[in-house]
């Protein structure tokens, strides 16, 4: 089965809004085993819309439209597509009552134009919009179909998952099951490692890279959801075998969600002491609903005085090793745990740039500390692209990874340990500092 995605809207052609609908629908159609051959964006008011639709209809089985369902006179998408599929529109009392109620609730009155939105296919079917005023439409002729959905992403996605995807699955007489693996690690390296597993028909597997991690989505089409789940699980096993515990979770929104859940499961709490990330780690943890069970205190210690006052870093240690150093990261984490009484504490001190770097500590140099009990684990990170936002994002990601490993009761990879008792021992700190500087 082949498809084209058509986004309707002059505001898209002007670049006023970013078209995220097309990407969403591309992924969804790929999951369904439907090949997207072309994506187009056209204006609301294009005289040649009918020509376009007729050509596209001849090229493929399914046309997926978003946008163009507005009440203004120049929104002719629904009428035009109906005609191309040998259909017409009729006024729908039920939809009109819904639109009228919607306006009444927000204290407005409908205009005659709004009646357009209550027009629905005579031969095809209307698609109920549970999240807005404009219903969608489904047209069909000689086995070729067209579906019209609203342009507002939240309305479109809801209509897609509630109505259109089930309809397409029913026609293919199958169900879909997906597992999304979340994997820690650099993009190009990871993509290279798994490349052979990405070329598969059913289940399909696709990789989406983000900062410091990737998402691998495995999707199976099967006769039953149970079969689909088994197929996904078996295929996921291949990724686990290849990637080991770099796969940190499944079907979560991000590392912070896994961190919060793991801390909850273990009955642990965490606190943060941040310099170059400036609050980003705390912000990510608290983005998770329910994080107040595991997180109570965060320190943004941007100045050296703040590091001393809030988390007890020794000013002499800063003077001796530099503020961006392993001993300072260690003291920040131990100090945050002490000041907050948390079970685990994580710290970051680094040079985010663009200024402030030197030969010993170029922009992108970051030290992290993660304390649990009487031990702190220190790690050095270097981000070679001198991009302030990237350095901060990678540092926050590395910090969350440290917290996860400590919560899991494991020694985080690539770290050097120091005990709380050693944190003021100059000989030990000298050795720690030297070990990192020679890396």
């Amino acid at each position: 089965m082949t498809a084209e995605i058509i986004s309707v809207g002059t505001e898209l052609l002007l670049g006023n809004i970013l078209n995220t609908n097309a990407q969403y629908l591309s992924r969804e159609l790929a999951d369904l085993g439907i090949t997207v051959q072309r994506e187009s964006t056209i204006g609301d008011n294009q005289g040649r819309l009918a020509d376009f639709v007729n050509e596209a209809k001849a090229r493929c089985d399914l046309l997926v439209f978003t946008g163009g369902l507005g009440p203004t006179a120049d929104d002719l998408t629904k009428e035009t597509v109906a005609a191309c599929y040998g259909d017409t529109l009729a006024f729908d009392e039920e939809e009109w009552a819904k639109i009228t109620r919607y306006f009444a609730r927000s204290g407005r009155e409908t205009t005659p134009n709004n009646r357009k939105q209550a027009m629905v296919p005579v031969h095809g079917r209307k698609i109920v919009n549970h999240h807005g005023t404009a219903p969608g439409a489904w047209f069909e002729q000689d086995g070729r179909c067209a579906v019209l959905m609203p342009g507002v992403p939240s309305e479109m996605k809801a209509m897609w998952t509630e109505s259109i995807r089930p309809l397409l699955l029913e026609r293919q007489n199958c169900t879909l099951h997906s597992i999304t693996l979340r994997v820690l690690g650099g993009e190009s390296n990871l993509e290279y490692q798994v490349r052979d597993l990405l070329d598969h028909a059913n289940p399909t597997a696709a990789i989406y890279c983000k900062t410091g991690e990737c998402e691998i989505r495995i999707t199976a089409r099967a006769a039953s959801d149970e079969d689909g789940e088994k197929m996904c699980r078996a295929y996921a096993r291949k990724f686990y075998d290849l990637l080991g515990d770099a796969v940190y979770d499944e079907d979560v929104a991000g590392l912070e969600e896994t961190v919060v859940r793991t801390l909850k499961e273990k009955g642990l709490t965490v606190s943060t002491a941040e310099s170059c990330t400036g609050g980003m780690i705390a912000e990510r943890i608290t983005a998770v609903s329910g994080s107040s069970e595991v997180f109570g205190y965060g320190f943004v210690t941007y100045w050296e005085q703040a590091k001393a006052k809030l988390v007890g870093v020794d000013p002499d240690v800063i003077a001796r090793y530099n503020v961006v150093s392993a001993p300072v990261a260690a003291q920040m984490a131990l100090g945050a745990a002490k000041a907050s009484g948390s079970d685990i504490a994580v710290s970051v001190t680094g040079v985010a740039g663009p200024t402030g770097g030197d030969a010993v500590r170029p922009v992108g140099t970051v030290y992290l500390g993660a304390a649990r009990g009487k031990t702190v684990y220190v790690k050095k990170l270097f981000v070679s692209r001198p991009d302030r936002a990237l350095v901060r994002a990678r540092a926050a990601q590395a910090a969350l990874e440290l917290v996860l490993r400590l919560a899991q009761g494991r020694t985080p990879a690539g770290t050097k340990p120091l005990t709380a008792a050693q944190q003021h021992d100059t000989a030990v700190l000298d050795a720690l500092d030297a070990a990192f500087l020679s890396e």
Copy 2:
């Protein structure tokens, strides 16, 4: 002049990457006064590419391609477009030497396929790529043009600004000047206020809405940059007259940049005490390079104990008024200023949701405090859409606005003042609390 934008790449049709190039080019072409009629995304390997190009060429003056310049055998975009514009390609020794050097630097060897990338137009012109291996191409026939650029956004944008935009300006015998106004305020309301000013040919004005603010970009085409600047300035005046000081700055990346610059200019420092925003305000401030001049201390006081311990909120005040209340926001801000020694301090306490709301404080209820000297200004914010990320983002934006107004020496709009001496006076706090609860 009319144009179409064509993005080439199977990975786009699969939804593996989000197409941001099309939006960028749409805006740029609109600035140049060129009407974008259609945007298309097609696969790398499409047999009907020539048909598509011939049709599109007949429809408009300029075709702007991104992607399809890779070294693999099925990347036929350059050859196909050349043929459609009556041109051919020839091997370019200079480009080949560049590609070979590029590979050598990264320790790799070129493959025979890479020679394809060194092929350049015979009649048209090659476009030098200063940021990658693949040169771009410009083809022209009977006054109709096509330009091919790389798909990687950073390479594409560099090639556009360094080579293609100047070429198009030269043909139009003009220069471009832009001013981007940053405006505080809700989206739909603002769009409505300025709607009449957006319909203008030269300068053009376009509005792009973000969370809690909008960007208005004014662009003039003129014979000289001086004329363009004057035209933009005169048109910008109309927006200032309409919007007043909701326009908070020009040509900045965001409110945090203006806040940091203003604090620097005034020689002031700021600190933060955050509950529901969880570090987001500090994170935004420290995203600005050089923010360490004005920001040293941030407190993420997620728990009630943290509010007491770190910024001195009286537990009795929490018990009496609720942790999400005007008195608590006031004490948090005054306490943060005291604990850090900053000139200004801002605080946030609210119900971000999705759980935790009740009839008196539904999800989306946020109190903010902003202290300067002996006075704290308290504000209530209500975000009606119960979306955790949105509530937090709107709260952080409102907090930065309070800091800006205090740094400017002004009383922030919509706030109620309280003095430091009154912060433990139950009668005064009762009245403050009641005044907000009745809002």
